[in-house]
Structures are given as structure tokens and as C-alpha cells.
Amino acid sequence: MTETFGPLSPALILILAGLILPLVKGPLRNALFLLAPVAALALVWALPLGPGLAVDWLGLNLVLIAPDNMARIFGTAFGIAAIAGALFGVTQPSATEKAAALLYAGAAQGIAFAGDLVTLFVFWEILAIGSTLVIWSNGHARAGLRYALIHVLGGVLLFAGISAEISGSGNVALHAMRADTIGRWLMLAGILVNAGALPLSAWVADAYPKASWSGAVFLSAFTTKAAVLVLIRLFPGEPALTWIGLAMAIYGLTYALLENDIRKLLSYSIVGQVGFMVVAVGIGSPLALAAAALHALAHILYKSLLMMAAGSILRATGETRLTALGGLARSMPFTAVAMLIGGFSLAALPLTAGFVSKSAILAALAEGQAGFYWFALTAVSAGSFLYIGLRLPWFALFGPGSAKVMAGSAPSMLAAMGLLCVLLVVPGCFPGLLERLVPEIAGVPILTADHILFQLQMLVAASCIFALLLPLLRPSAGSTLDFDWLWRELPRLAAPHWRRAWALFGKPVVGIWAETRGRWASFSQRSILLLGAAGNWRTGKIAIWATALLAIYVLIAAL
């Protein structure tokens, strides 16, 4: 079986389809765009669980396809997201975006099934290229460049960490580890950049809203969740992840509550929800890791749905600012229902998939006796309902104001949203379906009377606070400062001061520089002459230099 399906990786199908897509036109292009994700998802399930496909390359034992249950969970989530995203965006005229989206989805599948560090890194970089092209295809060159630079930084950190790991252990296999060496910290940092962890979280809300109405759906599904999968594989139980994840959850909540733009709000929400997963990875028990994977699956489904609803609103009204929207429930009822189901699932309303996955995460925290994180994430969960289940629907769909709808949603867009609504509600009503995919959650109490009552009290109490403090939650035009101020605003503000400083100190600096270069040139000249005469050195002198160089080498190796 592995021999049959080995070369046919789900990643390969999508990447090849992405490369071929610009060469074909019309219905054939759309057919390719729709069918490649279906074939990839079929392959995710056709690949038998086992050791997978290994090849020897330059003396490295690479495992290109390693199908285990975790790969299947994430492969399923990525597969569904690609199918739903393609269906939603099939009417998108940009061939570049469609091709990039398939490349991007393929890279995510490649990461899900990668069995070694080298394969992982290759797909990691293809993921960055695909996602950057999705943003660029909508014409936002500078935002795309910022996104690319952040991911280059993440890629360099990961590459440095992988190089150190391979040179240290000689092993390229993916295995659980602790961040106990500089190399492993670099690797962890590189992965956390893609996960949207602080202090570089701002790239998510900077880049995702710049994509087209259809491109943002793909962006919301892959990068951050692929990073969560890599954390599960490499750093399960890493203690630092618990507080990093909690910081992400609080950051996402605070910024989402302030945001005026729907797609930025959803981007901040991605960071917050990934924070839940990162905390679970930090706990590291089998239940916690399974819960993190399940929450990633549920999150991909409801965030794709919410991005679709936001994309439909953008396409129909040309607006995504809450201050310019309102009353859309009457003119866009289907989109309104989709937004409510997506939002309620994120807020873990009983009978939705989000309720199952969040229950599993909290059960894992309780099992691990991580009381502080249990109470903190439960509090953040109550706050999440404020922005996604109340503030967003109220000001976009039901509140005052009536945004002008200029174009209706295409049937394919409605079909994609309908598909995701079903996929969120059915497993929520029948959690046993998810238990088959993630058997570790079988013992978690989900649809029990006390648990349902607990969650309903949480949501109704949060609603009371929303009604009471509504004036404080009113959206306002503007932007919220973030860490990206350092690279987006500071250079522009510092430029005039820099010019003044250069006018004052420029001449002396140029003089010092010229003098230094002159001295360096004469030093090099002398060194070359000296080394040329090394054959005549005394043995003692050579021994001293050799010992010094060896000492420096040993010191560097020890570090």
C-alpha cells in the first residue's frame, strides 16, 4: 500500500496542481482548482498509518511521508479547508491567487506528513512562498513584503536550529525534545514566529486582511496551525509554551475587543485561539496534545467560515469596518447565519465543534492540575464570546446602520459556507464522530448536564456584561499600536532625526571610516607577508599558534 501511494503525497498533488493551474484556462482551471484538494483529502485517508516512505539523500535518512494519526488529523483539517476555500473562491478571477493557494495548501499537507527535519523545512519554506503570493496577488506589495520578511526571519531561525540539531545529534528524525540548547531555542523561536506568538504576533493582523475576499480564507487555515503541529511533534510538554500560549490568548482577546475591521478582528482572534493550542502543547500529556490537535481542526473550520462570511460582506459591500456596517442580517441572511454559527463555535456554544475541542483542552488542563491556566483560559473564553458572538454580530448584522449591498454571494460561496456550517454543527451534536478521529478525548465529559449548564452560564453572563457595558465596546475608527510599530512607524519617524544627526556627525564618521580602512589594508598586507613566510617560522611559534586556534575551536564547539 505504501509502495502504491508513497510517491503520491497529498502535498505533491496540490503543489503540482498549483504549478499547472496558470497554464490552463476556463472550466479546466476551475476543475483543477476544485478537484486537487478533493484528491489530496482522499489521499490523506488512503495512506495507511505506518512508517511511511523513507529515502536516503546525501547520507540523510529522509522520511518524506510519515502517516501517523496526528498527520491524519491535521491532513484532514487542511484538506477540508482547501476544499471549502477552493469552493468559496472558485469565482475569483485571479489565477495567481488560485495557484498560490494550492501551493500553500500543498505545503501545509507536506508539513503534516513530514517525517524529518529537512523535509519539514523544505515544506515550511514553500508554505511561506505560497502564502506571500496569496497576499501579493491582491496587490498589497508592501504588506506582502513585511509578511515575507517576518517569515524569512522565522525560516532563518528554524534553519539555524535544525542545522545545530543535525550537527549535534547527527539525526534528522522528528522527535520530542526540550528547549535546552541554543539550537533548540532557535528552532522553537522559528516555529513560534509562524504560530503568531508575541512579540511578533502583529504580522497576522497586518497581512491577512490584505488578501482578497477569497485569499484570506486560505491564510486563516494553514500557517499558524501548521506551526502548532510542529510544536506538537518537536516540543510537547515544553514548559515555556504554557505562558507563551496564555500571553497569546490574552493579546488576541484584548486586540480583538478593540478592533474595528472585521478581518483584522478575526486575525487577532486567530492569535488568541492558537494561544489555547500552544498552552495545551505546553502541558504535553497525550490528552493535551490530542486536544490541541482537535482544537486546531475545529478552529480551521470555524475561522474559515468566519473569514468566508467576512469575505462575502467585503465582496457585497466593499467594506469590512464595523463603523460602516450594520443591518446586514436582513440583506445577507445566509452570511449572517454562517457568521453566527462560526462565532458561536469559537465561543464554545454547546452543540458545536468548538465546544467539544475547548472542553477537551480544559479537561487536559484539569487532568494536569494546571489550575492557573484552567481558570485563565476559562476567563479568556468568556471574553472571546464578547467579541465574536456579541460585538461582531451586533454591529455588523443587527445593529443600527444599513450597509448597501451591491453584489450578492455566488452560489459556490454559499455552498462553501453551508458545508462548513454542517461540519461544525454535526460533530458538535455527535461528539463520537470526533472521538473516532481523536480517540484520546473519549473520556472527556462533553454533553453532560453539568458541563452544558456551566457553559451556558458562562455565555449568558458574558451577554449580561455586553448589554451593561455596550458603550465601552462600541467600535471606533483608528488603529491600535502594536509591536510592529518598531518596524512600520519608527524608521519613518526616525528618518528626519537621522538626517540631522548625519549632517552633524557625518564628516567625522566618514573620516574615521577612511582611516580605519587604511589601517586595515596595511594590516592585511603585513599579515599576508607574514603568512607567506610561515615556512620559516620556528617550531615553538607554530605550536603556540596551533594550540591557540585549537583552544578557540574547542571553545566555540562547547558553546
Partner: protein, 72 residues
């Protein structure tokens, strides 16, 4: 507070009280003791949501700027 908001708030408060009453009749499976007490979720969520609003509002006063950012 406008009339509609007051009515909604009263209705929600009534629903919340009913849920708390119902909570006294079910068996709890507490993980940390206090989370098994009847009405804990309601009290905890009221406080948490109020803190979330206060923190984000305060953060907004400090960090919110009028106008779009460059390149946005």
C-alpha cells in the same frame, strides 16, 4: 441606558438566574473544588467578562490612535 438595552439586560439576567437555579439540581464533577459549586460559572464569567472589557478599554485609551496606519 436606552429602553431596549435595559429590557435585554433584564431578560438575560432572568435567564441567568434560571440557569443558576438549574445548576443547583445537577451533580458536578469539579476539577478544582470551587468550579463545582452551583452558579460558579455565572459568577466567574461576569467577573471575567467585566475585566476583559475594562482591560481592553484601558488598553484602547493608551494605544488606540485615530486614523489608519501607513500602508493599511
Amino acid at each position: 441606558m436606552d429602553r431596549l438595552r435595559r429590557l435585554v439586560l433584564i431578560a438575560l439576567a432572568v435567564v441567568l438566574v434560571l440557569l443558576v437555579v438549574a445548576d443547583t439540581f445537577v451533580t458536578h464533577h469539579a476539577s478544582f473544588g470551587i468550579d463545582g459549586t452551583p452558579g460558579f460559572a455565572a459568577r466567574f464569567s461576569l467577573v471575567s467578562a467585566a475585566i476583559a472589557v475594562a482591560v481592553s478599554y484601558g488598553w484602547g485609551l493608551l494605544m488606540r490612535r485615530p486614523g489608519e496606519r501607513a500602508d493599511d
